[in-house]
Amino acid sequence: MSDALVEISGLKTWFPMGGRWLGTRSWVRAVDDVDLHVGRGEVLGVVGESGSGKTTLGRSVLRLVEPTGGSVRFAGKEVLALGRRDLRALRRRMQIVFQDPYSSLSPRMQIRQILSEPLRLHGMVDTRGTEVKVAALLEMVGLEPYFMRRYPHEMSGGQRQRIAIARAFALEPEFIVCDEPVSALDVSVQAQVLNLLQSLQRERRVSLLFISHDLAVVERVADRIAVMHRGKIVEEGDAARVIAAPKHPYTKTLLAAVPTLP
Protein backbone atom coordinates (compact mmCIF):
# COMPACT_ATOMS: atom_id res chain seq x y z
CA MET A 1 0.00 0.00 0.00
CA SER A 2 1.46 3.30 -1.06
CA ASP A 3 -0.07 5.58 1.57
CA ALA A 4 0.92 3.30 4.45
CA LEU A 5 2.92 4.91 7.24
CA VAL A 6 3.93 1.59 8.72
CA GLU A 7 4.41 -1.47 6.53
CA ILE A 8 5.11 -4.75 8.26
CA SER A 9 6.00 -7.71 6.10
CA GLY A 10 7.10 -11.21 6.93
CA LEU A 11 7.86 -10.07 10.47
CA LYS A 12 9.17 -12.83 12.73
CA THR A 13 10.12 -12.63 16.39
CA TRP A 14 11.17 -15.97 17.79
CA PHE A 15 12.43 -16.63 21.25
CA PRO A 16 14.75 -19.54 22.04
CA MET A 17 13.21 -22.03 24.41
CA GLY A 18 15.36 -23.88 26.90
CA GLY A 19 18.94 -24.85 26.11
CA ARG A 20 20.41 -26.52 23.08
CA TRP A 21 19.76 -30.22 22.96
CA LEU A 22 22.10 -32.14 20.70
CA GLY A 23 22.65 -29.08 18.57
CA THR A 24 19.03 -28.32 17.82
CA ARG A 25 17.09 -25.57 19.46
CA SER A 26 13.37 -25.10 19.82
CA TRP A 27 11.75 -21.72 19.38
CA VAL A 28 8.63 -19.97 20.57
CA ARG A 29 7.30 -18.29 17.47
CA ALA A 30 5.75 -15.30 19.22
CA VAL A 31 5.35 -13.39 15.97
CA ASP A 32 5.43 -15.61 12.95
CA ASP A 33 5.39 -14.17 9.45
CA VAL A 34 3.11 -11.22 10.02
CA ASP A 35 2.10 -8.82 7.24
CA LEU A 36 0.24 -5.67 8.26
CA HIS A 37 0.09 -2.04 7.34
CA VAL A 38 -1.12 1.08 9.11
CA GLY A 39 -2.11 4.08 7.04
CA ARG A 40 -1.59 7.70 8.04
CA GLY A 41 -4.16 8.70 10.62
CA GLU A 42 -5.50 5.16 10.70
CA VAL A 43 -6.24 3.00 13.73
CA LEU A 44 -5.39 -0.67 13.31
CA GLY A 45 -6.77 -2.82 16.12
CA VAL A 46 -4.95 -6.04 16.95
CA VAL A 47 -7.04 -8.52 18.91
CA GLY A 48 -5.85 -11.71 20.50
CA GLU A 49 -5.84 -13.77 23.67
CA SER A 50 -2.93 -14.14 26.05
CA GLY A 51 0.04 -15.75 24.37
CA SER A 52 -1.15 -14.84 20.88
CA GLY A 53 1.93 -12.66 20.33
CA LYS A 54 0.13 -9.33 20.12
CA THR A 55 2.33 -7.60 22.70
CA THR A 56 5.50 -8.95 21.09
CA LEU A 57 4.22 -7.69 17.75
CA GLY A 58 3.80 -4.15 19.08
CA ARG A 59 7.23 -4.17 20.67
CA SER A 60 8.88 -5.67 17.61
CA VAL A 61 7.57 -2.89 15.40
CA LEU A 62 9.26 -0.32 17.68
CA ARG A 63 12.29 -2.59 18.13
CA LEU A 64 11.80 -2.72 21.87
CA VAL A 65 12.42 -6.39 21.23
CA GLU A 66 14.62 -7.34 18.28
CA PRO A 67 12.72 -9.18 15.56
CA THR A 68 14.26 -12.33 14.13
CA GLY A 69 13.47 -11.44 10.56
CA GLY A 70 11.20 -9.69 8.12
CA SER A 71 10.72 -6.03 7.51
CA VAL A 72 9.16 -3.00 9.18
CA ARG A 73 9.10 0.12 7.08
CA PHE A 74 8.22 3.43 8.69
CA ALA A 75 7.54 6.26 6.24
CA GLY A 76 9.45 4.27 3.67
CA LYS A 77 12.50 3.70 5.88
CA GLU A 78 13.52 0.20 6.96
CA VAL A 79 13.36 0.26 10.76
CA LEU A 80 15.09 -3.07 11.23
CA ALA A 81 18.20 -1.83 9.40
CA LEU A 82 18.66 1.33 11.46
CA GLY A 83 21.68 1.88 13.65
CA ARG A 84 21.34 3.01 17.22
CA ARG A 85 21.54 6.73 16.48
CA ASP A 86 19.02 6.67 13.64
CA LEU A 87 16.72 4.51 15.70
CA ARG A 88 16.76 7.03 18.52
CA ALA A 89 15.89 9.82 16.11
CA LEU A 90 13.03 7.74 14.78
CA ARG A 91 11.70 7.00 18.27
CA ARG A 92 10.53 10.60 18.44
CA ARG A 93 8.05 9.74 15.73
CA MET A 94 6.98 6.37 17.19
CA GLN A 95 5.72 6.09 20.74
CA ILE A 96 4.11 3.51 23.00
CA VAL A 97 1.48 3.47 25.75
CA PHE A 98 1.61 0.45 28.05
CA GLN A 99 -1.14 -1.34 29.95
CA ASP A 100 0.03 -0.68 33.45
CA PRO A 101 0.61 3.00 34.02
CA TYR A 102 2.12 2.19 37.39
CA SER A 103 5.10 0.33 36.06
CA SER A 104 5.64 2.50 33.00
CA LEU A 105 6.13 5.73 34.96
CA SER A 106 9.20 6.19 37.12
CA PRO A 107 8.06 6.26 40.77
CA ARG A 108 10.82 8.66 41.76
CA MET A 109 10.02 11.38 39.26
CA GLN A 110 7.44 14.09 39.58
CA ILE A 111 5.01 14.34 36.69
CA ARG A 112 6.81 17.52 35.60
CA GLN A 113 10.02 15.53 35.06
CA ILE A 114 8.24 12.57 33.48
CA LEU A 115 6.65 14.79 30.87
CA SER A 116 9.58 17.11 30.25
CA GLU A 117 12.28 14.46 29.94
CA PRO A 118 11.39 13.27 26.45
CA LEU A 119 11.07 16.89 25.33
CA ARG A 120 14.55 17.72 26.60
CA LEU A 121 16.12 14.54 25.26
CA HIS A 122 14.92 15.41 21.81
CA GLY A 123 15.83 19.07 22.24
CA MET A 124 12.28 20.27 21.79
CA VAL A 125 12.20 22.79 24.64
CA ASP A 126 14.59 24.98 26.56
CA THR A 127 14.50 25.12 30.35
CA ARG A 128 12.21 28.12 30.45
CA GLY A 129 9.68 26.71 28.05
CA THR A 130 9.33 23.44 29.94
CA GLU A 131 6.81 24.49 32.55
CA VAL A 132 4.49 26.00 29.94
CA LYS A 133 4.73 22.97 27.69
CA VAL A 134 4.08 20.52 30.54
CA ALA A 135 1.04 22.52 31.63
CA ALA A 136 -0.24 22.38 28.05
CA LEU A 137 0.26 18.61 27.96
CA LEU A 138 -1.62 18.18 31.23
CA GLU A 139 -4.45 20.31 29.90
CA MET A 140 -4.54 18.22 26.73
CA VAL A 141 -5.29 15.11 28.79
CA GLY A 142 -7.74 16.86 31.10
CA LEU A 143 -5.57 17.29 34.19
CA GLU A 144 -5.03 20.47 36.24
CA PRO A 145 -1.56 22.09 36.26
CA TYR A 146 -1.00 21.20 39.94
CA PHE A 147 -0.45 17.57 38.92
CA MET A 148 3.03 18.69 37.82
CA ARG A 149 4.26 18.39 41.39
CA ARG A 150 2.70 15.00 41.98
CA TYR A 151 4.36 11.60 41.95
CA PRO A 152 2.73 8.70 40.09
CA HIS A 153 1.78 6.91 43.32
CA GLU A 154 -0.25 9.93 44.40
CA MET A 155 -2.53 9.53 41.41
CA SER A 156 -5.32 7.13 40.46
CA GLY A 157 -4.91 4.53 37.71
CA GLY A 158 -6.91 6.61 35.27
CA GLN A 159 -4.88 9.74 35.99
CA ARG A 160 -1.65 7.82 35.56
CA GLN A 161 -2.80 6.51 32.21
CA ARG A 162 -3.60 10.09 31.17
CA ILE A 163 0.01 10.96 32.01
CA ALA A 164 1.25 8.01 29.93
CA ILE A 165 -0.88 9.28 27.04
CA ALA A 166 0.42 12.84 27.50
CA ARG A 167 3.98 11.51 27.43
CA ALA A 168 3.33 9.53 24.26
CA PHE A 169 1.79 12.55 22.49
CA ALA A 170 4.39 15.03 23.86
CA LEU A 171 6.80 14.60 20.97
CA GLU A 172 4.02 14.89 18.40
CA PRO A 173 4.66 11.41 17.01
CA GLU A 174 3.06 10.09 13.85
CA PHE A 175 2.58 6.58 15.20
CA ILE A 176 1.72 5.20 18.63
CA VAL A 177 1.53 1.59 19.74
CA CYS A 178 -1.14 1.28 22.44
CA ASP A 179 -0.71 -2.01 24.26
CA GLU A 180 -3.86 -2.75 26.28
CA PRO A 181 -4.07 0.94 27.26
CA VAL A 182 -7.34 0.66 29.19
CA SER A 183 -7.31 -2.95 30.41
CA ALA A 184 -6.12 -2.17 33.94
CA LEU A 185 -8.79 0.47 34.49
CA ASP A 186 -12.25 0.30 36.01
CA VAL A 187 -15.00 0.48 33.42
CA SER A 188 -16.17 4.01 34.30
CA VAL A 189 -12.61 5.30 33.99
CA GLN A 190 -11.86 3.11 30.98
CA ALA A 191 -14.52 4.97 29.01
CA GLN A 192 -13.00 8.36 29.86
CA VAL A 193 -9.50 7.28 28.84
CA LEU A 194 -10.74 5.61 25.67
CA ASN A 195 -12.61 8.76 24.66
CA LEU A 196 -9.55 10.88 25.37
CA LEU A 197 -7.29 8.65 23.29
CA GLN A 198 -9.77 8.64 20.46
CA SER A 199 -10.26 12.40 20.36
CA LEU A 200 -6.49 13.05 20.47
CA GLN A 201 -5.96 10.53 17.70
CA ARG A 202 -8.51 12.23 15.47
CA GLU A 203 -7.38 15.74 16.27
CA ARG A 204 -3.74 15.01 15.52
CA ARG A 205 -4.28 12.40 12.81
CA VAL A 206 -1.89 10.01 14.54
CA SER A 207 -1.73 6.40 13.42
CA LEU A 208 -2.35 3.84 16.12
CA LEU A 209 -1.58 0.17 16.50
CA PHE A 210 -4.19 -0.54 19.16
CA ILE A 211 -3.60 -3.88 20.88
CA SER A 212 -6.25 -5.39 23.13
CA HIS A 213 -7.82 -8.63 24.24
CA ASP A 214 -11.19 -6.88 24.40
CA LEU A 215 -13.09 -6.93 21.11
CA ALA A 216 -15.70 -4.45 22.26
CA VAL A 217 -12.99 -1.94 23.15
CA VAL A 218 -11.15 -2.44 19.86
CA GLU A 219 -14.35 -2.04 17.89
CA ARG A 220 -14.84 1.42 19.44
CA VAL A 221 -11.54 2.78 18.15
CA ALA A 222 -10.34 0.76 15.16
CA ASP A 223 -10.76 1.42 11.43
CA ARG A 224 -9.50 -2.06 10.69
CA ILE A 225 -9.09 -5.10 12.92
CA ALA A 226 -6.45 -7.83 12.72
CA VAL A 227 -7.06 -11.01 14.72
CA MET A 228 -3.95 -12.69 16.03
CA HIS A 229 -3.68 -16.31 17.08
CA ARG A 230 -0.51 -18.23 17.90
CA GLY A 231 1.79 -15.66 16.36
CA LYS A 232 -0.10 -15.32 13.11
CA ILE A 233 -2.73 -12.95 11.77
CA VAL A 234 -5.68 -15.22 11.02
CA GLU A 235 -8.04 -12.53 9.81
CA GLU A 236 -7.83 -8.90 8.92
CA GLY A 237 -10.35 -6.46 7.57
CA ASP A 238 -12.60 -3.48 7.98
CA ALA A 239 -13.59 -3.30 11.67
CA ALA A 240 -17.35 -3.41 11.11
CA ARG A 241 -17.00 -6.32 8.70
CA VAL A 242 -14.80 -8.42 11.02
CA ILE A 243 -17.28 -7.96 13.88
CA ALA A 244 -20.44 -8.44 11.83
CA ALA A 245 -19.25 -11.13 9.42
CA PRO A 246 -16.15 -12.90 10.69
CA LYS A 247 -14.64 -15.39 8.25
CA HIS A 248 -12.03 -17.28 10.22
CA PRO A 249 -13.30 -19.90 12.70
CA TYR A 250 -11.08 -18.49 15.43
CA THR A 251 -12.57 -15.01 15.02
CA LYS A 252 -16.01 -16.58 15.25
CA THR A 253 -15.08 -18.41 18.46
CA LEU A 254 -13.70 -15.22 19.93
CA LEU A 255 -16.80 -13.21 19.06
CA ALA A 256 -19.15 -15.88 20.37
CA ALA A 257 -17.31 -15.91 23.70
CA VAL A 258 -17.87 -12.23 24.44
CA PRO A 259 -20.68 -11.91 26.99
CA THR A 260 -23.54 -9.82 25.67
CA LEU A 261 -25.51 -7.29 27.62
CA PRO A 262 -29.27 -7.38 27.35
Partner: protein, 329 residues
Amino acid sequence: MLLHVEDLATHFFLDEGVLRAVDGVSFDIREAETVALVGESGCGKTIVALSILKLVQWPGRIVRGRILLDGEDLIAVSTERLRQARGGEVGLIFQEPGASLNPVFTIGAQLVEVLRLHRGLTRGEARREAVRLLDDVGIPDANKRFNSYPFELSGGMRQRVAIALAVSGRPKLLIADEPTTALDVTVQAEILKLLRHIQSEYGMAILIISHDIGVVASIAERVLVMYTGRIVEEAPARTLFRAPVHPYTRGLLAATPRLGTGRGTPLAGIPGTVPDLLALPEGCTFHPRCPIGDHGCITDVPVLIELAPNHRCACYKAVPVTADVEREP
Protein backbone atom coordinates in the same frame (compact mmCIF):
# COMPACT_ATOMS: atom_id res chain seq x y z
CA MET B 1 -33.65 -18.31 53.33
CA LEU B 2 -30.23 -19.86 52.74
CA LEU B 3 -28.11 -16.83 53.51
CA HIS B 4 -29.27 -13.73 55.30
CA VAL B 5 -26.74 -10.92 55.66
CA GLU B 6 -27.89 -8.10 57.88
CA ASP B 7 -26.18 -4.76 58.39
CA LEU B 8 -22.74 -6.21 57.83
CA ALA B 9 -19.89 -3.82 58.49
CA THR B 10 -16.22 -4.76 58.08
CA HIS B 11 -13.72 -2.04 58.84
CA PHE B 12 -9.95 -1.90 58.55
CA PHE B 13 -8.10 -0.19 61.35
CA LEU B 14 -5.15 1.45 59.64
CA ASP B 15 -2.59 3.96 60.87
CA GLU B 16 -4.21 6.52 58.58
CA GLY B 17 -7.66 5.95 60.03
CA VAL B 18 -10.62 3.60 59.88
CA LEU B 19 -11.34 2.30 56.41
CA ARG B 20 -14.98 1.30 56.11
CA ALA B 21 -14.59 -1.35 53.39
CA VAL B 22 -18.07 -2.74 54.02
CA ASP B 23 -20.45 -0.45 55.80
CA GLY B 24 -23.97 -1.67 56.43
CA VAL B 25 -24.63 -4.29 53.78
CA SER B 26 -27.80 -6.39 53.88
CA PHE B 27 -28.99 -8.98 51.39
CA ASP B 28 -30.50 -12.44 51.11
CA ILE B 29 -29.73 -15.44 48.95
CA ARG B 30 -32.37 -18.10 48.45
CA GLU B 31 -31.59 -21.74 47.86
CA ALA B 32 -30.32 -22.55 44.36
CA GLU B 33 -30.34 -18.89 43.41
CA THR B 34 -27.55 -17.13 41.50
CA VAL B 35 -26.82 -13.66 42.83
CA ALA B 36 -24.13 -11.30 41.55
CA LEU B 37 -22.33 -8.68 43.53
CA VAL B 38 -21.00 -6.13 41.07
CA GLY B 39 -18.89 -3.03 41.46
CA GLU B 40 -15.59 -1.41 40.61
CA SER B 41 -12.30 -2.03 42.39
CA GLY B 42 -12.31 -0.92 45.99
CA CYS B 43 -16.08 -1.02 46.44
CA GLY B 44 -15.81 -3.76 49.07
CA LYS B 45 -17.28 -6.69 47.16
CA THR B 46 -14.44 -9.09 47.95
CA ILE B 47 -14.53 -8.10 51.62
CA VAL B 48 -18.22 -9.06 51.71
CA ALA B 49 -17.29 -12.52 50.43
CA LEU B 50 -14.46 -12.93 52.91
CA SER B 51 -16.65 -11.67 55.75
CA ILE B 52 -19.27 -14.34 55.09
CA LEU B 53 -16.70 -16.99 56.03
CA LYS B 54 -14.93 -14.80 58.57
CA LEU B 55 -11.78 -14.86 56.50
CA VAL B 56 -11.01 -11.17 56.97
CA GLN B 57 -7.64 -10.70 58.60
CA TRP B 58 -6.34 -8.03 60.91
CA PRO B 59 -6.31 -5.00 60.58
CA GLY B 60 -9.73 -5.84 59.18
CA ARG B 61 -12.54 -6.78 61.51
CA ILE B 62 -16.27 -7.40 61.30
CA VAL B 63 -17.60 -4.66 63.54
CA ARG B 64 -21.32 -5.15 63.11
CA GLY B 65 -23.97 -7.33 61.61
CA ARG B 66 -25.30 -10.84 61.34
CA ILE B 67 -24.57 -13.53 58.77
CA LEU B 68 -27.17 -16.26 58.99
CA LEU B 69 -26.52 -19.44 57.06
CA ASP B 70 -29.63 -21.59 57.35
CA GLY B 71 -30.46 -19.56 60.45
CA GLU B 72 -27.10 -20.09 62.12
CA ASP B 73 -25.06 -16.93 62.81
CA LEU B 74 -21.59 -17.53 61.37
CA ILE B 75 -20.18 -14.54 63.20
CA ALA B 76 -21.02 -16.10 66.56
CA VAL B 77 -20.08 -19.75 65.94
CA SER B 78 -16.93 -21.52 67.13
CA THR B 79 -13.77 -21.70 65.04
CA GLU B 80 -14.30 -25.43 64.76
CA ARG B 81 -17.77 -24.98 63.32
CA LEU B 82 -16.53 -22.30 60.95
CA ARG B 83 -13.83 -24.59 59.62
CA GLN B 84 -16.52 -27.16 58.96
CA ALA B 85 -18.66 -24.65 57.09
CA ARG B 86 -15.77 -23.52 54.91
CA GLY B 87 -15.51 -26.11 52.18
CA GLY B 88 -18.57 -27.80 53.65
CA GLU B 89 -21.81 -25.85 53.30
CA VAL B 90 -19.97 -22.95 51.66
CA GLY B 91 -17.51 -23.43 48.81
CA LEU B 92 -15.17 -20.73 47.67
CA ILE B 93 -13.31 -20.04 44.43
CA PHE B 94 -11.00 -17.14 43.74
CA GLN B 95 -9.78 -15.09 40.82
CA GLU B 96 -6.38 -16.71 40.61
CA PRO B 97 -7.09 -20.26 39.48
CA GLY B 98 -4.20 -21.53 41.56
CA ALA B 99 -5.16 -19.73 44.76
CA SER B 100 -7.13 -22.57 46.29
CA LEU B 101 -4.76 -25.28 45.09
CA ASN B 102 -1.66 -26.46 46.92
CA PRO B 103 1.24 -26.54 44.45
CA VAL B 104 3.04 -29.50 46.08
CA PHE B 105 0.17 -31.99 46.05
CA THR B 106 -1.49 -33.63 43.08
CA ILE B 107 -4.98 -32.40 42.33
CA GLY B 108 -6.29 -35.87 43.12
CA ALA B 109 -4.72 -35.91 46.59
CA GLN B 110 -6.25 -32.52 47.35
CA LEU B 111 -9.71 -33.64 46.27
CA VAL B 112 -9.44 -36.87 48.25
CA GLU B 113 -8.46 -34.94 51.37
CA VAL B 114 -11.50 -32.67 51.15
CA LEU B 115 -13.83 -35.57 50.35
CA ARG B 116 -12.64 -37.56 53.33
CA LEU B 117 -12.77 -34.57 55.65
CA HIS B 118 -16.12 -33.11 54.64
CA ARG B 119 -17.97 -36.14 53.39
CA GLY B 120 -16.34 -38.86 55.51
CA LEU B 121 -15.64 -41.08 52.53
CA THR B 122 -13.14 -43.94 52.63
CA ARG B 123 -9.96 -43.64 50.57
CA GLY B 124 -11.35 -45.78 47.76
CA GLU B 125 -14.71 -44.01 47.65
CA ALA B 126 -12.98 -40.66 47.75
CA ARG B 127 -10.78 -41.57 44.81
CA ARG B 128 -13.74 -42.68 42.71
CA GLU B 129 -15.69 -39.55 43.66
CA ALA B 130 -12.67 -37.34 42.89
CA VAL B 131 -12.36 -38.77 39.39
CA ARG B 132 -16.10 -38.36 38.88
CA LEU B 133 -15.89 -34.70 39.98
CA LEU B 134 -12.92 -34.00 37.71
CA ASP B 135 -14.83 -35.54 34.86
CA ASP B 136 -17.89 -33.50 35.78
CA VAL B 137 -16.03 -30.19 35.64
CA GLY B 138 -14.74 -31.08 32.20
CA ILE B 139 -11.21 -32.30 32.86
CA PRO B 140 -10.46 -34.61 29.94
CA ASP B 141 -9.00 -37.99 30.84
CA ALA B 142 -9.85 -37.44 34.51
CA ASN B 143 -8.43 -40.76 35.67
CA LYS B 144 -4.98 -39.81 34.42
CA ARG B 145 -5.23 -36.14 35.38
CA PHE B 146 -5.92 -37.25 38.96
CA ASN B 147 -2.14 -37.55 39.36
CA SER B 148 -1.32 -34.14 37.85
CA TYR B 149 0.13 -31.26 39.81
CA PRO B 150 -1.51 -27.83 39.50
CA PHE B 151 1.43 -26.40 37.50
CA GLU B 152 0.90 -29.02 34.82
CA LEU B 153 -2.51 -27.55 34.01
CA SER B 154 -3.52 -24.42 32.09
CA GLY B 155 -5.24 -21.55 33.89
CA GLY B 156 -8.67 -22.64 32.66
CA MET B 157 -8.06 -26.25 33.72
CA ARG B 158 -6.83 -25.10 37.14
CA GLN B 159 -10.01 -23.08 37.57
CA ARG B 160 -12.02 -26.20 36.71
CA VAL B 161 -10.14 -28.12 39.39
CA ALA B 162 -10.75 -25.28 41.86
CA ILE B 163 -14.46 -25.57 41.08
CA ALA B 164 -14.34 -29.35 41.60
CA LEU B 165 -12.63 -28.75 44.93
CA ALA B 166 -15.17 -26.10 45.95
CA VAL B 167 -18.16 -28.30 45.16
CA SER B 168 -16.66 -31.51 46.56
CA GLY B 169 -18.09 -30.77 50.01
CA ARG B 170 -21.58 -30.52 48.43
CA PRO B 171 -21.97 -26.86 49.42
CA LYS B 172 -25.33 -25.14 49.57
CA LEU B 173 -23.63 -21.91 48.61
CA LEU B 174 -20.72 -21.38 46.25
CA ILE B 175 -18.97 -18.04 46.51
CA ALA B 176 -17.05 -17.25 43.31
CA ASP B 177 -14.87 -14.17 43.58
CA GLU B 178 -14.00 -12.90 40.07
CA PRO B 179 -13.78 -16.51 38.85
CA THR B 180 -13.05 -15.59 35.23
CA THR B 181 -11.16 -12.32 35.50
CA ALA B 182 -7.72 -13.87 35.03
CA LEU B 183 -8.86 -15.96 32.08
CA ASP B 184 -9.05 -15.39 28.34
CA VAL B 185 -12.47 -14.63 26.93
CA THR B 186 -12.94 -18.04 25.29
CA VAL B 187 -11.95 -19.82 28.52
CA GLN B 188 -14.16 -17.44 30.48
CA ALA B 189 -17.14 -18.50 28.38
CA GLU B 190 -16.42 -22.17 29.17
CA ILE B 191 -16.05 -21.54 32.91
CA LEU B 192 -19.33 -19.58 33.03
CA LYS B 193 -21.01 -22.43 31.20
CA LEU B 194 -19.53 -24.87 33.70
CA LEU B 195 -20.79 -22.80 36.64
CA ARG B 196 -24.30 -22.84 35.17
CA HIS B 197 -24.08 -26.61 34.65
CA ILE B 198 -22.80 -27.22 38.19
CA GLN B 199 -25.47 -24.95 39.57
CA SER B 200 -28.31 -26.81 37.92
CA GLU B 201 -26.86 -30.24 38.64
CA TYR B 202 -26.02 -29.73 42.30
CA GLY B 203 -28.79 -27.23 42.98
CA MET B 204 -26.62 -24.93 45.02
CA ALA B 205 -26.81 -21.17 45.29
CA ILE B 206 -24.03 -19.07 43.78
CA LEU B 207 -22.79 -15.69 44.90
CA ILE B 208 -20.67 -14.43 42.03
CA ILE B 209 -18.53 -11.38 42.56
CA SER B 210 -17.42 -9.49 39.50
CA HIS B 211 -16.42 -6.11 38.14
CA ASP B 212 -17.61 -7.21 34.70
CA ILE B 213 -21.21 -6.44 33.90
CA GLY B 214 -21.11 -8.74 30.89
CA VAL B 215 -20.17 -11.71 33.07
CA VAL B 216 -22.91 -10.83 35.54
CA ALA B 217 -25.47 -10.54 32.76
CA SER B 218 -24.67 -14.00 31.48
CA ILE B 219 -25.15 -15.83 34.77
CA ALA B 220 -27.02 -13.93 37.49
CA GLU B 221 -30.71 -13.96 38.34
CA ARG B 222 -30.39 -11.12 40.78
CA VAL B 223 -27.80 -8.36 40.98
CA LEU B 224 -26.47 -6.28 43.86
CA VAL B 225 -24.53 -3.16 42.87
CA MET B 226 -21.96 -1.95 45.37
CA TYR B 227 -20.28 1.42 45.70
CA THR B 228 -17.92 2.53 48.49
CA GLY B 229 -18.87 -0.26 50.87
CA ARG B 230 -22.63 -0.10 50.42
CA ILE B 231 -25.24 -1.63 48.19
CA VAL B 232 -26.70 1.15 46.06
CA GLU B 233 -29.09 -0.89 43.95
CA GLU B 234 -30.55 -4.37 44.04
CA ALA B 235 -32.80 -5.84 41.37
CA PRO B 236 -33.57 -8.91 39.30
CA ALA B 237 -30.99 -9.06 36.48
CA ARG B 238 -33.61 -8.35 33.81
CA THR B 239 -34.79 -5.22 35.57
CA LEU B 240 -31.31 -4.02 36.36
CA PHE B 241 -30.14 -4.21 32.76
CA ARG B 242 -33.34 -2.90 31.17
CA ALA B 243 -34.37 -0.27 33.70
CA PRO B 244 -31.53 0.64 36.04
CA VAL B 245 -32.45 3.40 38.46
CA HIS B 246 -29.41 4.39 40.49
CA PRO B 247 -27.24 6.90 38.60
CA TYR B 248 -24.16 4.80 39.37
CA THR B 249 -25.71 1.67 37.86
CA ARG B 250 -26.81 3.69 34.85
CA GLY B 251 -23.31 5.11 34.55
CA LEU B 252 -21.69 1.68 34.70
CA LEU B 253 -23.95 0.36 31.97
CA ALA B 254 -23.38 3.40 29.76
CA ALA B 255 -19.61 3.13 30.22
CA THR B 256 -19.43 -0.53 29.18
CA PRO B 257 -18.53 -0.97 25.51
CA ARG B 258 -20.93 -3.28 23.73
CA LEU B 259 -19.90 -5.46 20.85
CA GLY B 260 -21.54 -4.74 17.52
CA THR B 261 -22.30 -1.07 18.14
CA GLY B 262 -19.40 0.10 16.01
CA ARG B 263 -17.96 3.48 16.84
CA GLY B 264 -21.40 4.84 17.61
CA THR B 265 -21.53 7.74 20.00
CA PRO B 266 -18.65 8.11 22.44
CA LEU B 267 -18.98 6.02 25.58
CA ALA B 268 -20.34 7.94 28.51
CA GLY B 269 -17.77 7.47 31.25
CA ILE B 270 -18.58 8.41 34.83
CA PRO B 271 -16.63 11.59 35.60
CA GLY B 272 -14.00 11.45 38.33
CA THR B 273 -12.89 8.28 40.07
CA VAL B 274 -14.00 6.04 42.92
CA PRO B 275 -13.22 8.09 46.05
CA ASP B 276 -10.58 7.16 48.60
CA LEU B 277 -12.34 5.09 51.26
CA LEU B 278 -10.40 6.93 53.93
CA ALA B 279 -11.72 10.27 52.70
CA LEU B 280 -15.28 9.57 51.60
CA PRO B 281 -17.46 12.50 50.56
CA GLU B 282 -20.19 13.55 52.99
CA GLY B 283 -23.78 12.56 52.30
CA CYS B 284 -24.21 10.30 49.30
CA THR B 285 -20.69 9.13 48.45
CA PHE B 286 -21.56 9.19 44.75
CA HIS B 287 -22.61 12.84 44.68
CA PRO B 288 -19.33 14.30 43.35
CA ARG B 289 -19.67 12.10 40.25
CA CYS B 290 -23.44 12.16 39.97
CA PRO B 291 -25.17 13.78 36.99
CA ILE B 292 -28.49 14.27 38.79
CA GLY B 293 -27.44 15.05 42.36
CA ASP B 294 -28.34 18.31 44.07
CA HIS B 295 -27.39 20.11 47.27
CA GLY B 296 -29.47 17.69 49.35
CA CYS B 297 -27.22 14.80 48.31
CA ILE B 298 -24.24 16.53 49.90
CA THR B 299 -25.76 16.27 53.35
CA ASP B 300 -28.11 13.28 53.38
CA VAL B 301 -26.95 9.69 53.27
CA PRO B 302 -29.46 7.78 51.11
CA VAL B 303 -30.83 4.50 52.40
CA LEU B 304 -32.07 1.56 50.33
CA ILE B 305 -35.71 2.11 49.48
CA GLU B 306 -37.97 -0.45 47.86
CA LEU B 307 -39.08 0.90 44.48
CA ALA B 308 -40.90 -2.23 43.39
CA PRO B 309 -40.94 -5.81 44.65
CA ASN B 310 -37.31 -7.03 44.73
CA HIS B 311 -36.05 -3.71 43.45
CA ARG B 312 -34.26 -1.52 45.97
CA CYS B 313 -32.26 1.62 45.35
CA ALA B 314 -30.33 4.05 47.55
CA CYS B 315 -30.82 7.39 45.85
CA TYR B 316 -33.06 10.29 46.81
CA LYS B 317 -33.21 11.64 43.29
CA ALA B 318 -34.27 8.31 41.83
CA VAL B 319 -37.31 7.66 44.02
CA PRO B 320 -40.79 9.08 43.48
CA VAL B 321 -41.37 12.76 44.23
CA THR B 322 -43.11 12.12 47.55
CA ALA B 323 -39.94 10.79 49.14
CA ASP B 324 -38.09 13.80 47.82
CA VAL B 325 -40.51 16.14 49.50
CA GLU B 326 -40.25 14.32 52.82
CA ARG B 327 -36.59 14.98 52.83
CA GLU B 328 -37.02 18.76 52.86
CA PRO B 329 -36.89 20.24 56.38
